[in-house]
Assembly symmetry: C2
Homo-oligomer: 300 residues x 2
Amino acid sequence: MSKFLLYGSVALDTIYTPYGKGEEILGGSATYAALAGRMFSTPVLVGCVGEDFPPSYLEFLKESGISLEGLEIKKGKTFRWVARYGENPNQVEVLSTCQNVIEDFFPVLTPPLREISIVFLANNSPSAQLDLIRQVNSPKLVIWDTMNYWIENYRQDLEKVLPYVDIALLNDEEARRLTGEFNLIKAGKALLKRGIKGVVIKKGEHGSLYISPEDFFLLPAYPVEKVVDPTGAGDTFAGAFTGYLAKEDTLTFSRLKKALGFGTILASFCVEGLGVERLKRLKREEVEARWENFQRMMQF
Amino acid sequence: MSKFLLYGSVALDTIYTPYGKGEEILGGSATYAALAGRMFSTPVLVGCVGEDFPPSYLEFLKESGISLEGLEIKKGKTFRWVARYGENPNQVEVLSTCQNVIEDFFPVLTPPLREISIVFLANNSPSAQLDLIRQVNSPKLVIWDTMNYWIENYRQDLEKVLPYVDIALLNDEEARRLTGEFNLIKAGKALLKRGIKGVVIKKGEHGSLYISPEDFFLLPAYPVEKVVDPTGAGDTFAGAFTGYLAKEDTLTFSRLKKALGFGTILASFCVEGLGVERLKRLKREEVEARWENFQRMMQF
């Protein structure tokens, strides 16, 4: 199976939702992205956890077909995140974020890992993203995410990452803040002017759009009747997107559209369970069935 | 050309946008719906204006292929609406609404108008909608819109209209208030349980969805880079949708999907100009070109 590098966080999340709560459950951007990406390729997770990280979680990730070659166990505590969702799953209150071991973590890639040419830089400090991408010998496809916090407070660092980015994968708010354009098509075009080859703007329950100098694609979200927990949906989207693209050598617009489609499908499963619960027990046949159904729902 | 009855308001709007303002310009739900619907069928406008309504506007409507057989000119002033939009076109501040002549207007259909079997009940008081639909001899397809004001304050009247409705065409907020369901699929299903055959939920810039006991369809909005004025976009959508369906006798799921597609396209033109300005100068070739483009943008 083809591989892709996945640099992001592995966390212990505590999540309160109207449908139940999870305490110190497996979370983090890299976890969600890896659990989605493994459906198509082998995610090579780069990141770190603390000594308190449950061995059963490591075991689960390994058994799921995720390579942990790039995951370090460091002295200290694992990254922790606590949040509460309301009846409207778009309303999230982040109660606490403790970076812990990832605070000053700058991973050093081993020689084999430097050879992996497809990379997803999940949300992280821009300096950490820059440090990582510079270690990759010949990056062929770099997919990049960030968040408002970095856009607002680490703009200069972030600007240094952009020249390495092939495809930016942002949510609507991030695209707006990064470019100062309210209209998402204008925001996308502004990013293309910066030399990024393609821009995916994720609008959560409202779908996504893709814009490149040559192409344009529109995608609704897959309809979900009961959103239990939206945590990680964006990372899941990105992981499936990258994993699907990593499967083959050539990147065509047709493949890219399918990658967006599978990103959408995997995200729709993600939100149906608390934490990674739904992704954990997800079967390939379920993904295929939803994919068929999705195409039908959009066909004139 | 086939006809459809269109019962709604004709107004004089004063609209402030960051891109310009319009004073006492032609507006109203029936106006927008008619200017869109005329692309496919002949809208027969039912409503009333005051004596102060500019004859040039009447002339323009007639020349646009809209039948004014059902439009009365009453003693008094025309319905007026004043609103201001911010940089974010979703933020609207309604500065004033003066119903004037439409306040106690209950139209009486002439015998030929009672024979028209396809009806769009644009936003109006439920009692006025009920009164109108009861005058139609054999309604074949009744498409219905409303707004939060009626849902909140005239619930009992509104419940009496529902048994006549074939397709409800609501925006997301209206669907939520009417059913008490936050999730739009659940809201749609709740309306189907009331006996409505199909539910279209419009999400503005985020597209729309259709749900019936047998079918489901998802549609993104057509991407527009510069939204000048969103006034009337929902009515435009509904007018094109109804006009397209009125064109032929049989209602298939395939036709219904195309009707939603053309509703989307016409609405995308509507928001590009102040008031009805863009719809006014819209050419059939432009509609066709955008329709081709739209299908391409959504195709895997």
